[in-house]
């Protein structure tokens, strides 16, 4: 049990460190949010009225107290789930904005991550099972080739071919303007059409890491003594591959998958920017460029907590799956 307790304490410690860094980092950056907002409004060729900067500053509410008092206020607010008001979307709250963006990211990226993981693991297993065959070389070479394509370029190519030239899919956005978000059939099919191209882009590049990881792990575990023993005992090849190879090889991939799911929130900036998808990645990018500290902090915090929780769960899972881990740490 000590293993789990230690993991938990470690989890709490890193969580606290993440929250604190999250508070400090934006405050150490140069630049004034009020001026950033106003000069973005004015554009670079218009002069900015100082009265406007002043008004925006009052609107945002100047932080009161010294850094430590601000820190305590921040901790208290975070504990109550209060992340403040977004500067960019004033007077809407940070929680409201995240609530609007979150479903898009979770559905698009969550679903493609799961599919990528399943497809990648299966293909990797198949390649290792048939290692040094034609199937293996097609899968390995193919994924290496696709892995070298810049994602950005690939996404633009998809847009150019399927949205602009062929006009099969809309070129950007999460849904058209004609339907409003809700549980109507029209909206859902509209949102689905909009999600196809970004999902395809993610699915082309997504499984590559899982394929290569799974194949290499499995080739390695099939080369170990117990697997050789199984071959010597004359067990069927398929059974050796699955129980002696895949079952062990999948462990690191499971950890990787947990972490990948945890980082869904922040890891989607590129795809959402290229496709103008209304999710968390674009919200994050926007909050950084307009110095929207409350929004930025909340998104970073959610992302960090997501990764930490996933890590913690993966640790627990490991403890259950592999007794050696527990033993090694208690010994």
């Amino acid at each position: 049990m000590a293993y789990f307790a230690r993991r938990f304490v470690f989890f709490l410690g890193t969580l606290w460190a993440a929250v604190t860094l999250n508070f400090l980092i934006p405050r150490l950056q140069p630049g004034d949010p009020a001026e950033a907002i106003v000069s973005r409004l004015a554009g670079q060729s218009e002069s900015v009225d100082p009265a406007q900067v002043q008004a925006v500053r009052i609107m945002l509410g100047a932080p009161d107290g010294n850094l430590f008092e601000q820190y305590l206020q921040y901790l208290g607010a975070v504990l109550h789930g209060d992340f403040g008001v977004s500067y960019t979307y004033f007077p809407y709250s940070v929680t409201h904005m995240i609530g609007q963006a979150l479903p898009w990211t979770v559905i698009l990226v969550g679903v493609t991550q799961i599919i990528s993981f399943i497809v990648g693991t299966l293909l990797g297993t198949w390649a290792a099972y048939r290692r040094n065959s034609r199937v293996d070389s097609v899968i390995t070479l193919g994924s290496t080739f696709l892995g070298t394509l810049p994602f950005f370029w690939l996404a633009l190519l998809l847009i150019y071919v399927f949205a602009i030239t062929l006009r099969w899919f809309p070129e950007r956005g999460g849904y058209g303007g004609g339907s409003s978000p809700g549980w109507s059939w029209i909206f859902i099919s509209d949102a689905f059409q909009h999600s196809v191209l970004p999902a395809v882009a993610l699915l082309i590049t997504g499984p590559i890491g899982w394929i290569i990881g799974m194949r290499n792990n499995m080739v390695q575990s099939l080369g170990e003594d117990h697997a050789r023993l199984a071959v010597a005992r004359g067990l069927p090849r398929r059974r050796i591959a699955l129980t002696y190879g895949a079952r062990i090889a999948i462990l690191p991939n499971v950890t990787g998958f947990a972490i990948a799911l945890g980082s869904v929130l922040g890891g989607t900036v590129l795809v959402e920017t290229v496709f103008n998808y209304p999710g968390m990645g674009r919200l994050l990018l926007e909050s950084v460029s307009s110095r929207d500290y409350p929004l930025m902090q909340a998104i970073f915090l959610f992302t960090t907590v997501g990764v930490l929780v996933a890590n913690f769960l993966a640790d627990l899972l490991y403890g259950f799956l592999d007794p050696r881990v527990r033993k090694a740490e208690t010994a």
Binding site: A36, S45, V56, T88, F90, V138, G176, E286
Partner: protein, 557 residues
Amino acid sequence: MKRSRLARIAAVAAAVALATAGCTGTEQKSGPGTDGRIAYLDYGDFGGGSNPQANYNPYLDASRLGATEYVFEQLITYDNYGCQAKPWLATEWTWSDPKTLVWKLRQGVKWNDGKPFSADDVAFTYDMLKQHKALDTKGIWRYLSAVEATDPQTVTMRFAQPGAAAFTLFGEIKIVPKHVWSTVGDPVTFPNAEKPVGTGPFTVKAFNPQQLTLGRNADYWQADKVKVDELRFHKADGGGQIDQLKLSRGEYDTNAMFVPDIKKAYVDRDPEHNKYWFPSGGSISVYMNLTKAPFNDTAFRKALVPAFNRQEIVDKAQLGYVKPASQTGLVVPGQAEWLPKDIPNQGVAGYDAARADADLTAAGYPKNGAGKRVGKDGKPIAFSFRVPGSWTDWVQAQRIIVANLNALGFTVRAETPTPEAYENDRAIGNYDMLLGVHGGSCNMFRNFQEPLASDQSAPIGKKAVSNFVRWNDPRTDQLIDTLRTATDEAGQKAAVADLTRVMTEQVPMIPLWYGAKWFQYRTAKATGWPSEENPYAAPSDNLLIITNLRPTGTNAK
């Protein structure tokens, strides 16, 4: 082998895509509207960031949606190109003395919920901005002392000091209904999202973060002038590739964005209907740190005026979209009537490196044996010139400027800091030479007070409000003060003329080119857009434009 397999995968993917896609089918045919009006016009973006939220609070500049401009109105509307005030919710205004301004309001105006508009609403609006400083984005209560509804059709404004200088600020405050806003708990955090009540030509018909639709207000006080039934705004990528593509396909009836090579990308696609007009905005100028040698020497600065190849900057760094700027600080030709008659070429200096060379030598800055220009201390003059590194057109201009200066024997370091570092250093005076923007508005007082008044300056190391060059000259201050208090146009013009002479003779800064106001429009459905031939408004004067549009094919009024 590999090739054929990939091809098969691609074919399968394409088939799946075909099956699931159907057609996107969002395009609609534009038929004629009712009563000979235009059924709808497609406008560009509606602001509000990447995930817009319904926000029609006209004072929340940073987050309100652009459509607010069509829902709310103000006492006067400026033609921001020719700088003419047009009567709007007010029909006339008079200065009964330099500290008292009396407005007569238009009769028969109604809020879009049917209630009558009156002087009470006006007084309430101005008072609300006094109570809530965060809403006073123009800073009008720096000048005002009281706003009263003298009778239902009359509003009297009183000023702490003569108030004429800030006239353009007072008149353009959006007026909101007292019967709605007096019930709002805190107007600063009020998004006004549900059926905003205003007097304007349109009301909010439908909104989602991808599209905003405005419908014509049939009870509008000049409804007969509004010939468009619907305005549609779309979420866009802020002038990115896709937006430019949609523009070139004619999917917008009007838009305001930067387009590289607009003739090829837009006009040539449909020369009959696709047009653009990029009138000049504020002056982009070389700012010199006037607290340092040699920039503190008037003769030195004056010698530099012809040193810059403005036309090359305009052609190469600005794609020829803008015009070289006048040394007077005014925007020509729009504001030409404010210029003294004796200024040649409206104050736009030509490029004459030989003259700059001779003038610099005469001013005591000769070249040494190595061809380097030396200061009065006999040492070669070396300094830095900064622009924000991410503003690519300015970086292009920087190359030309630095080459022009180096050709004269200076040793100039081109620096490209981040915009934040650049702005901070400019404010605290930590620079030698850089680019800055000033002027361009219809408020002549603002145009000169912000860059030149000593009360907008600060010691080096402290943030200046807007006088970043740290110009400190009693005569300039006196002229700005005259401009602040002059209620008659003759007095204002005399003060402006003298300020343009300060600009040309003492050279506090060197304007190079004008920022452009981007504006594209299509005449397929509507005519009557402002243009170079018919510059009745600036591209941002939405109320003036919407009341001038006519269906294509009908006679202009």
